[in-house]
């Protein structure tokens, strides 16, 4: 039977979702397949792509849109969904609308394009995607229930990243070669995307991008907002989640670098929970004061970080201090923070 065969094939390929959750694609599909629908199930292709320094979904839509649509159709067939959606951030919606609609229409598929109302960060989180599509406030829902059980219109919903559908299409046609897309951007380099083997280290990826790590730079891995910063000696490690590298000039102003992250999370917080809504704001303010006056109440600083990391409602709050802390620890060798 087609359904079981494709899930088995995905499982065998070891495909891990290409968003940032590191969840086994085959397992997710199996969960939605088994879930009971009240009326019907849905498939959503998530092209929110709002992590700075990540632009592989755009690259895929520019080069392989028919593979993505094919992947969605396979998913719809597998989980018995009548309807699929492509959830696009406003920029991509404008850029790819005509293109995608032509493919969808020519294949007579029941796939609808949905324009994300804002180009925001948290709107890429899967329950926020569902809220957004239902016309609700774009913010994460309480989990459980997970979308695989109760997603769009409270029906079982399969939400995967755009690249995941691309990979599924390749797996189905036996073309999959265990590769994924890696992004490079930053100081002194052009934005680039390369398709490279899954599981390579940062150093290996940089080599393919023709960059030799050196002490003039530091590197932010797996996302420009939430990613971890490493110095040039720490790059012999695999990517966790998103495969992106941002190169920073080592002499970049500490204040500029840190405030950019703090501003980002303060502005992108949905405002739902206390630690993130209040904490990102307070942290931003005390750090601004620190950079202006050199004074920092270490206890407040640590408490805010502790609360953000341990009590935020969703991952956005929990990872919001990751970049800053790793920057202080790995690049500046500063002991502002507790060890983590």
């Amino acid at each position: 039977m087609f359904t079981q065969k494709i899930i088995k094939k995905i499982k065998k390929a070891g495909l891990i979702g290409r968003g940032c959750n590191n969840f086994s694609t085959a397992d997710k599909w199996e969960l939605v397949r088994k879930a009971k629908a009240k009326d019907e199930k849905f498939v959503i292709c998530n092209v929110s792509e709002s992590e700075p320094g990540v632009f592989k979904d755009r690259y895929i839509l520019e080069n392989y849109p028919e593979k993505v649509v094919d992947g969605i159709k396979i998913a719809m067939k597998t989980i018995h969904a009548k309807k699929g959606f492509i959830y696009l951030n406003p920029e991509y919606y404008e850029q790819f609308y005509d293109y995608l609609i032509n493919i969808i229409n020519s294949e007579n598929s029941n796939i609808e394009l949905y324009e994300k109302p804002l180009h925001d960060y948290v709107g890429g989180e899967e329950t926020a995607v569902v809220n957004s599509m239902e016309g609700k406030r774009v913010e994460p829902r309480l989990k459980p229930p997970f979308p695989v059980i109760s997603g769009f219109l409270n029906e079982p919903t399969l939400i995967n990243n755009c690249e995941t559908f691309y990979a599924v299409s390749l797996i189905n046609s036996n073309e999959y070669k265990n590769t994924k897309f890696y992004c490079l951007s930053g100081d002194g380099v052009e934005d680039q995307v390369l398709e490279l083997p899954v599981g390579i280290t940062v150093s290996q990826a940089l080599k393919k991008f023709n960059h030799t790590p050196n002490n003039n730079f530091f590197y932010q891995i797996s996302g420009g907002a939430s990613g971890t910063c490493y110095n040039h000696k720490q790059l012999n490690r695999k990517f966790s989640g998103l495969a992106s590298i941002i190169i920073y000039n080592i002499n970049k102003s500490e204040k500029d670098v840190v405030m950019k992250w703090l501003d980002f999370f303060k502005n992108e917080s949905c405002g739902q929970c206390v630690p993130c809504r209040e904490g990102t704001y307070r942290l931003r303010n005390i750090m601004e004061e620190y950079f202006t006056t050199g004074k920092l109440d270490k206890e407040v600083f640590e408490d805010l970080i502790f609360s953000l990391q341990n009590t935020s409602f969703c991952p956005l709050g929990r990872i919001s201090v990751n970049a800053m802390l790793s920057y202080f620890k790995n690049i500046k060798n500063k002991n502002l923070n507790e060890k983590n």
Partner: protein, 629 residues
């Protein structure tokens, strides 16, 4: 349901699958602080205060984490203390303390937590200083500078009442809760608000002295960003009852009342207590819900300085008497069915605003406080030989919408001031009157005399049951005499109609009254009323007589009642009302001797006068005023 064993702080407890850790802890009296969680509402888990540590999971919010077999939970670890304190301090910095004049000062959960968890309350600078105070017509004030963004008000208005009057706007730290369609916070764009004499001070703010007075409120509002006419406040006050931090309150009348008590001049001051407050006000003084305090209330009104302590229940008997007669006339007429009760002003506003096509279904009989207010200023003024203008009537009620009702032009100020249960309790506290320890007294005659039928007005189904008791009687009278006037010696009336009791959202029954079958329904919560009206519109259902109360469980769950509220508390309050009814010698409105006397001696059969004093009309209303203070 399957029972499992869980471990909290190294002790074993039984739990049911599907319960949350907080459910179990609350049942077992294990203290876990929490703010956004309310048993009437969905779990939102946004305040992040009810943290516990679960072995293998780290810190989790206990309100949103379901129990699992053999989980090990800790409620007081160093990690919990640290995160909980930080989150509480962050919340504290959202809430501008105006404790001096806040009527929640004796009952403030934030202050309680501040003390218990050793908060450094000034660790973060207060960030909402410039946030506006909104006033919804003449009933409710929302001080957004006290709001902690828990969204309970938004949810209760949207889901329980389906009025959708609140909305959440903006994102992140800019997130605000505000009246729908109003600008976020641009004070320079707002017109100078107009005031009527009572606007301008919330139960819990100290804005009073600067406020301009004696200006009507209904002129200024459309200048605001009045986007469409789809949403409005019905003044039910459920947002108040579900706000954990007192950011929303009734427009306060207590200051004016206090001033009059101190300096009354030649005025006679009369207080009247609504049926349901006698079983709820004790909670403001540490008593159990459902503690009956009628006698202490009578004593307290005198102690505060009121000249007469009367009872809105007398008004309820008058309403019942009139409404039963109206029902009989209605059933004989070609008027559209069903007849709806109209003693809940929030429900009336709901119909007037959202469903004007049903206005003609509302009984024109006035609500109890208006009936008794009218009788005080006519019948009783005659007895006192006083100019009605020299009589001040203060209602003490479980309701914020009554403030609006009393202020309606058509009621000609028969009630001058309306205090909520909370406001009155606050006044007593302020004047060091310890209610539970007062020696009970009787309410004053003649207008403190009432039947059991009147007291149950406070519970959902009570108005229906009272009206049925009297309708049953009048139908028998009519059979014998052809008229619907009280007559001595008519046979026993059916007393109890238990089908209409209880806290279900919609209760339906077919009852036999005076030999006639009536299809009746009793509804509480406006969301249920909306469902009902929608079905009615489609002609799917047929009823003769329907009672609607806006608040859960009726007035015992009213927006002016002591906080907190939940289904258990409401059930206890309601049970106490039925107990009072059971124990009273007179259980029907038409048997209340004062009612009989008023009809006989004062109205003398003058139906025109009765119509004038006890009835009024309704009209469709446009969106009312919402303005920023």
């Amino acid at each position: 349901m399957k029972k499992i064993k869980i471990n909290i702080n190294n002790k074993n407890y039984f739990a049911k699958l599907g319960e949350t850790i907080l459910d179990v802890a609350l049942r077992e009296k294990i203290e876990i602080p929490h703010l956004c969680k309310h048993p009437d509402l969905s779990i939102k888990a946004n305040c992040r205060v009810c943290l516990v540590e679960v072995k293998g999971m780290g810190l989790v919010t206990s309100c949103s984490t379901q129990v699992e077999e053999a989980i090990e939970v800790f409620t007081e670890t160093e990690n919990i203390k640290r995160a909980r304190k930080t989150n509480l301090e962050l919340i504290f910095a959202e809430h501008i303390e105006k404790c001096d004049t806040c009527i929640y000062q004796n009952n403030c959960i934030l202050l309680k937590y501040a003390k218990e968890y050793d908060l450094k309350i000034s660790r973060f600078e207060e960030r909402k200083k410039h946030y506006p105070i909104w006033q919804f017509s003449d009933s409710i004030q929302f001080d957004s500078s006290k709001c902690i963004d828990c969204r309970n008000c938004v949810e209760v208005c949207e889901k329980m009442q389906t009025c959708n009057f609140y909305e959440i706007a903006e994102r992140g730290v800019e997130t605000v809760v505000k009246p729908r369609g109003q600008p976020v916070c641009h004070p320079e764009l707002l017109p100078v608000p107009d005031w009527n004499s009572r606007a301008g001070v919330s139960e819990s703010s100290n804005q009073v002295s600067e406020m301009p007075k004696q200006v009507r409120h209904d002129t200024c509002l459309d200048l605001l960003n009045n986007n469409d006419n789809k949403f409005d406040c019905t003044y039910c006050g459920q947002c108040i009852a579900h706000c954990p931090v007192g950011a929303i309150s009734g427009v306060a009348h207590w200051q004016d009342v206090e001033k009059l008590l101190e300096n009354r001049g030649n005025k006679i001051l009369i207080a009247q207590i609504a049926p349901s407050i006698r079983v709820s006000i004790g909670e403001e003084f540490g008593q159990e819900p459902g503690k009956i305090m009628t006698g202490q209330l009578a004593a307290s009104m005198k102690k505060l300085g009121f000249d007469y302590a009367f009872d809105v229940s007398l008004g309820a008997d008058l309403t019942t008497y009139e409404e039963a007669r109206e029902l009989i006339k209605w059933l004989e007429s070609s008027k559209p069915r069903p007849m709806f009760t109209s003693c809940c002003p929030s429900w009336v506003k709901f119909v007037e605003f959202f469903y004007p096509e049903f206005i003609s279904h509302l009984t024109t009989t006035n609500s109890p406080q208006i009936c008794s207010g009218s009788i005080i200023k006519t019948y009783f003024a005659n007895i006192l030989k006083k100019d009605p203008l020299d009589i001040i009537v203060v209602s003490i009620v479980p309701c914020t919408a009554k403030k609006h009702e009393a202020n309606l032009e058509k009621h000609a100020k028969v009630v001058d001031y309306v205090l909520t249960t909370r406001e009155y309790a606050y006044l007593l506290h302020k004047h060091k009157i310890d209610l539970p320890n007062l020696k009970p007294e009787d309410l004053d005659k003649p207008l403190g005399i009432h039947s059991g039928a009147a007291v149950i007005y406070g519970a959902s189904g009570g108005v229906m049951e009272s009206a049925l008791r009297s309708a049953d009687y009048f139908l028998r009278v009519k059979k014998q005499t052809g008229s619907i006037k009280y007559k001595k010696g008519i046979a026993m009336t059916r007393i109890e109609f238990k089908q209409v009791r209880g806290t279900q959202g919609i209760k339906e029954a077919t009852v036999k009254v005076g030999g006639q079958k009536l299809n009746i329904a009793v509804i509480n919560e406006l969301g249920n009323a909306r469902d009902f009206l929608e079905k009615l519109k489609e002609n799917k259902i047929k009823y003769d007589y329907v009672e609607v109360m806006a608040c859960p469980g009726g007035c015992i769950g009213g927006g002016g009642q002591p906080v907190p509220t939940n289904s258990e508390i409401r059930a206890k309050r309601a049970a106490a009302l039925y107990k009072i009814d059971e124990n009273l010698p007179i259980r029907t409105a038409h048997n209340n001797p004062v009612v009989q006397k008023i009809y006989k001696k004062y109205f003398k059969g003058d139906e025109e006068l009765i119509e004038k004093i006890f009835h009024s009309k309704f009209k469709a209303v446009e969106k009312a005023g919402y303005y920023e203070i």
